[in-house]
């Protein structure tokens, strides 16, 4: 058996391979569930109901999908240039930190102005946090995977420090938490979900437009495919990379602002809730395409929310839905091989 790289693969084949892998993963999960004495189809159905089964639940799922969608878009920009930004968590938190600073200190400002300032602060916070690994990569060639990963934990510890220390709420009855934001600093709701969903749609459209129709977007795509070709075309590769990564981190920072202001109504180390990591998976699964990121993120949010439902309904702990997530992912990650290569018998004629 030898493996040969495919030159061409039809869209149908790709979808088929992915579907088979999802099916296989569900079958494995079913075995697992049956072993525990549950009826797999019942459980899967409840998962779906828990995620989408009522207006309330749908709103909850969509609320959860907002940060996933936006973070994924942010990470997608970096990934398109083969810059492995796994610092989404940290960029979200630093964005939340910057936005919270404005929220806590300037709450007398009129609401629209305050929220706008917080929005930009969020972008700056995340963007600057991503600038560090970007500069290091572009000028020193340092491995961005590790740096962005480490910066996550620095950010988490920083926010925790603020929570326990200088920003600790004196009215918090001794609990280590930061004061809740004034109503002025809280995102309003539209249709029962905080305004973040409109921001999210806007960001998706804006970034899709940027990548498809502007010069900078064109440059990002070319650099991601072939740095040599980009150089030969006269592009200033370093500038484009740094600018794109700042954008990537900035978008994650906006998520931080939205979560802090719209969901948590304060700053805490929980604001990022693992979205930075989950988004890496959703981005990768979506094949770095903005249009696919939305449904995939909603599905993932559904998995998360559905998981807490089956916890109360069947006594199956939340962690089971994490395991299910991971199983689906393993199979899809593995299926990528079959999309890229095909197997042929070893005696096949050699081709240059």
């Amino acid at each position: 058996m030898r493996m040969i790289q495919r030159t061409n693969i039809s869209k149908q084949k790709i979808i088929l391979i992915r579907l088979i892998s999802v099916l296989l993963s569900l079958m494995t999960a079913s075995l697992f569930l049956q072993f525990m004495g549950h009826h797999p189809l019942e459980v899967f159905a409840s998962l779906a109901i828990g995620a989408f089964g009522s207006a309330y639940r749908l709103r909850e799922t969509l609320t959860t999908s907002i940060p996933l969608v936006v973070t994924s878009i942010g990470i997608m920009i970096a990934f398109k240039m083969k810059f492995w930004n796994i610092g989404g968590e940290g960029q979200i938190l630093m964005g939340a930190f910057a936005a919270s600073y404005i929220a806590l200190n300037y709450s007398e400002l009129p609401k629209p102005l305050l929220l706008t300032l917080m929005f930009f602060a969020g972008f700056l916070g995340g963007g600057m946090w991503a600038l560090i690994p970007a500069l290091l990569k572009v000028h020193l060639g340092t491995n961005e995977t590790i740096i962005t990963l480490m910066l996550n934990y620095v950010a988490i510890k920083w926010v925790t420090y603020l929570q326990y220390g200088p920003w600790k709420d004196p009215n918090g009855m001794g609990f280590p938490q930061i004061a809740t934001f004034e109503p002025n600093a809280i995102l309003p709701k539209v249709f029962g979900v905080h305004i973040g969903w409109i921001i999210a749609i806007f960001i998706v459209l804006a970034i899709s437009f940027l990548l498809a129709k502007t010069k900078k977007g064109f440059e990002i795509s070319v650099i991601g495919e072939s740095i040599d070709t980009a150089r030969y075309a006269g592009m200033n590769v370093k500038h484009v990379i740094v600018a794109a990564i700042i954008l990537s981190g900035g978008i994650c920072g906006i998520v931080g602002m939205m979560e802090a202001s719209g969901v948590n109504r304060t700053l805490s180390s929980n604001v990022s809730s693992g979205y930075g990591f989950t988004a890496i998976i959703t981005t990768w699964l979506s094949g770095l395409k903005a249009s696919i990121i939305i449904p995939v993120s909603i599905l993932f949010a559904g998995l998360i929310k559905g998981g807490s439902f089956i916890q109360t309904a069947y006594g199956i702990p939340q962690s089971a839905s994490d395991v299910l997530q991971a199983l689906i992912l393993f199979f899809i990650i593995g299926s990528e091989f079959f999309v890229q290569y095909r197997l042929v018998p070893s005696t096949a004629k050699e081709e240059l």
Partner: protein, 509 residues
């Protein structure tokens, strides 16, 4: 078979798709012999040796090693039969010592007996005259030392047939002398050595016999002491073939590019361009001949602003291009395209369509932050017509096109930018006659428009017919600039091998 015939390749043929890389090649090497394998680029030398080292399998023919018929399934089997290949680019682990690199993969004692093995290696190295310090780390070594480690490695593993692929390409003249002493010692010891080279003077100096390959076939095996460089060149380049390429007479204009004393070094501070001086005129095609790796790529990149220049000037309309950004150089009307061996890497983005690839050189001229793709569509369609490009559609990724058509897209795009200077390297690499002629016609059209064209190519016949003048590069130096009507193919071959014959026909200004 005589036991002294270590290697015998009989009627070996190898095809890659429709390309016949080796055609009934027969060739043998004896014990204690240094046998040179000579030929131009694409003559089939590397392919032939890759079959000996187990990377490729012959489509037909036989290989005998030490009289035994063999079929290698993998490089490991070739190594086991005593064949040691020294590649041009060393395969060593930089952070490990020479000793570790030599012993890795061998079945030894559990604990590495560092002292004992180092001593053994030192002794063996001394025997052959190799300057190898077993305890030294590879990253601390010069290229010559690294090559010595590779040689010691194959000898330590029991090789008695050595294949050396252009070993002197990376060595200084002094190191080359030392290498030859080592090679003679190995031959004395009974090894059979095959050296792939294009350098005639080295063939004369070190080899006992030489086999010349041309277009995949053996054209002759000569005793070195009975032959001359001229005879070898004749065999290498063959008779002149008439390709019927038109060469329109165009009145030459002013010098559009003036290169003065251009010096460039690579990252290891090895000089790659050594005091190049020449002019390119409007309305002329200046061909650049030379063995690959003589500095053509670096010259192209230097003019385009993509390679750091140490000294000298590149004047375009009296303005020095050195220090300008690549974008500015493109803006001034200088177009550079380079077709690498894998044909895709540098000019085109494989997964993008023709429109986007055409945009690569144009988009920065469009005003505003947005990209307008529809303006490019008529350009693409025009090029498809003129060059007869076979494509499923202008919106299909270019990687779906066949190799020749991909190159047409690349050249088409460059011409579409209406350059003032057109630099094109290996534009017809791998193309068939019809496609090649399309490209020559395009280039001639540009010449009639008054564009100054620098045409880097491999095929001497093409250069002699298409170009007005030909400049020959060898190891970063100009060994000759001649009028194509006044030079013979043998003279070109000799200049490519390093002989400085004449510099005429063009330095009027």
């Amino acid at each position: 078979m005589h036991k002294d015939i270590f290697v015998k390749m009989e009627n070996i043929s190898k095809n890659f798709g429709t390309v016949r890389a080796n055609d009934a090649v027969s060739f043998e090497v004896r014990k204690g012999e240094i046998h040179a394998l000579l030929g131009e680029n694409g003559a089939g030398k590397s392919t032939l040796m890759n079959m000996l080292s187990g990377i490729y399998k012959p489509d037909s023919g036989f290989i005998y090693i030490h009289g035994q018929k063999v079929t290698f399934q993998s490089p490991k089997e070739s190594i086991q039969m005593g064949i040691g290949m020294i590649h041009q680019h060393v395969k060593l682990v930089e952070v490990q010592t020479a000793r570790d690199n030599i012993i890795m993969g061998l079945k030894n004692s559990f604990f590495v007996k560092k002292k004992k093995i180092s001593e053994e290696l030192r002794a063996k190295a001394q025997h052959f005259g190799l300057a190898v310090d077993p305890d030294k780390k590879i990253y601390n070594m010069s290229i010559g030392e690294k090559q010595s480690v590779e040689i010691l490695k194959v000898l330590y593993r029991g090789a008695d047939i050595l294949i050396m692929d252009e070993p002197t390409a990376v060595l200084t003249p002094q190191e080359t002398k030392e290498l030859f002493v080592i090679m003679r010692k190995m031959a004395e010891d009974g090894c059979a050595i095959i050296i792939i080279t294009h350098k005639l003077n080295e063939v004369m100096e070190i080899s006992d016999r030489v086999t010349v390959l041309r277009h995949g076939s053996t054209v002759g095996t000569l005793e070195t002491k009975h032959t001359t460089p001229k005879e070898m060149t004749d065999l290498m380049v063959g008779a002149v073939t008439d390709l019927s390429i038109k060469r329109p007479k165009v009145h030459r204009g002013k010098a559009v590019l003036e290169i003065k004393d251009l010096v460039a070094e690579d990252t290891d501070h090895v000089p790659v361009l050594k005091n190049l001086s020449f002019n390119l005129f409007e309305g002329e095609i200046l061909g650049v001949a030379g063995v690959s790796g003589s500095g053509q790529k670096e010259l192209c990149e230097a003019i385009a602003g993509l390679y750091p220049v140490k000294n000298g000037e590149i004047l375009y309309e009296k303005e020095n291009l050195i220090g300008m950004s690549p974008r500015d150089i493109i803006r001034r009307g200088i177009s550079m395209s380079f077709i690498p061996e894998d044909r895709l890497g540098m000019g085109l983005v494989a997964s993008m369509d023709m429109v986007d690839n055409f945009l690569l050189k144009e988009y920065h001229n469009q005003k505003g932050p947005f990209i307008r793709r529809n303006t490019m569509v008529p350009h693409c369609e025009e090029m498809i017509r003129r060059l007869d490009i076979r494509t499923p559609g202008i919106h299909h990724p270019v990687k779906q096109l066949s190799g020749g058509n991909i190159q047409k897209v690349l050249i088409g795009r460059e011409i579409d930018t209406n350059p003032h200077v057109l630099i094109t390297a290996y534009a017809v690499r791998g193309l068939d006659i019809g496609a090649s002629h399309n490209i020559y016609d395009l280039i001639n059209e540009q010449k009639r428009k008054g564009v100054g064209i620098l045409f880097i190519g491999e095929d001497l016949d093409v250069l002699m017919e298409l170009c007005d003048r030909i400049m020959v590069l060898c190891e970063g130096e100009i060994t000759g600039i001649v009028n194509s009507e006044e030079v013979t193919k043998e003279e070109l071959g000799l200049m490519m091998a390093g002989e400085k014959i004449k510099i005429e026909g063009g330095e009027a200004s």
